[in-house]
Amino acid sequence: MSKWDVLIIGSGISSLTCAALLAKRGKSVCVLEQYNKPGGYLHCFSRFGERFETGAHYVGAMGKGQPFRALLKYLDVYDDNLFVPLDTEGFDVFNFPGFQVKFPRGYDGVIGALSAQFPQEKTAIQAYFDMIRTVVNQFPTYQFNAASDIETPTEALETSVATVVRRLTSNLKLQCVLFSYCIHHGVAPEDIPFGFHAIVTDSLIRGAYGLKNGGDAVARKFVETIEKHGGSVRLNTRVARLVTRDKHIDEVVTENGETFAADWVISGIHPKAVFGLLSEPEVLSPAFRSRVANLKESTGIFGVYAACTLDLPLNPLRNYYYFGSDNPAAYLESTTPATPGAVFVSSGTRVLRPGQKTIPVSFHASSPIEWFEPWRATAYGARPQDYRALKNELAESIFALVERYQPGLRASVRQFVTSSPLTNLHFNGSEEGSSYGIYHSFQNTGARSLGPRTHIRNLLLTGQNCLFPGLLGSAVAALRTSGHLVGIKPILNELNQEMRNFT
């Protein structure tokens, strides 16, 4: 049996962040990953000679002196070759029936662009973004401010973004634009605490970057750093059982019978999955078991990955959002396979290579796993024709929506493949095929969030289910989790210094 200070289950960005941080602070750390490469949603895949991202489409707060870059630099993971700034003149382009808005880098640019589109709403627009800037400063693990109260602000966690926006404006089109980033956490405007929506919005406005060489390169850099500090990342190592005694994990057993022991076990996988590995699940109260079993999941995501000809007027340094409606009550979610909701479009190749003849373009829209329920028990790679027919129908309806704004899109598609919520389930074990994990509504945030501590004394949770989804949310969750082992205040102070080095 091998013994470690900390064993980490799963190798998504949150697990890798914990591993790098704890290894750097002298802990012996071993990451156990079921798949044949590390990264979770950092994974890329190749088709038609092009690289596509599965989850890491872009990231915020990456400008100089901003939190995510500071965190990566602090972990010795940052490298200029990993990231590329998106178009400062318009990194996000929102297309609604009858109007388009581009978000340039920085608050002044975004407020100016929105005010030009909605001149009657200038005061509301200014007030909304003022509130965002105020609220994000109250989150110590986002701004790395150990001097502030470690408790997150209650009001920001108990007021929805819908409530905040509707107090400021009754303009439905403007409401739609301000709610658009709900795509990036998968929670409806009525259900998402304003504070979390504010962090997503702030991070993207201040520092939206693409991944220059793909999420795989970021994961590799993490592994390099972990190993440099004496840690280990074990691939093809699926944890099968957590042997507990007196609410303590004594032994971690893998599918091939290998055993590990550690002072602490950190789980980056879904809470339902990790608690299902316990050898004595009855040590958990019926109330807690019921709570975990009833956790609501965010919606499944459907993806289309296409090689498009270069005559498509698509700037790889921009992301595009296409909406079929400008009704804020019903424009985000797909209602039927023929009527996709919001479609998010980005390219896995942010910087074109010389001689490149096509460009990889991914299209993502929400898609309840219920649509794919008949094939849940079928095996990946061997699913029947009617499953593939439904996927093609969805792909064509997504193309048709984008075609309304980008005539010629369909003709530019040379080849494409698709992913369904069942694909997410297969590769990432995400319950219900969701990309964003549990539904981070009021019910699952603030005092009600799961983790980092658990009822198992030496088991901590991390990852997007623990705090908040996305690369940034998952990495910040790792700070809280690691803080339980080495103290959060010293980490925040050092990160704060890292940010100040640029100012």
Partner: protein, 97 residues
């Protein structure tokens, strides 16, 4: 199960006790109003959150997380559920929000 909108104080006590027994396997004879959650009932801060979520789900009520900080005894839980269930029991200052 009845929801709190149609419950008397006696029913609230009975239903909260049932949920504490089935949800946390606490013997019924320990479920007295003066019992403290942490010392007498053996719960911890994680259990307290589970209890909040459990009561909300089973009684179909909504309790602000902040209010949990003032809860010490089982009687405090009965009171909290009662306030949420019967608005006239809420303090004036909270009604004005």
């Amino acid at each position: 199960m009845n929801t709190t909108s149609s419950m008397s104080n006696e029913q609230i006590v009975s239903q909260v006790n049932d949920l504490m027994h089935t949800g946390f396997e606490i013997p019924r004879d320990k479920l007295v109003p003066t019992a403290t959650l942490f010392d007498d009932l053996g719960m911890d801060s994680l259990d307290a959150i589970d209890m909040l979520v459990h009561l909300e789900e089973k009684l179909q009520i909504k309790v602000e997380g902040e209010r949990l900080k003032k809860v010490r005894t089982l009687a405090d839980i009965y009171g909290l559920v009662g306030e949420v269930a019967i608005p006239s029991l809420q303090p004036q200052s909270e009604q004005s929000h």
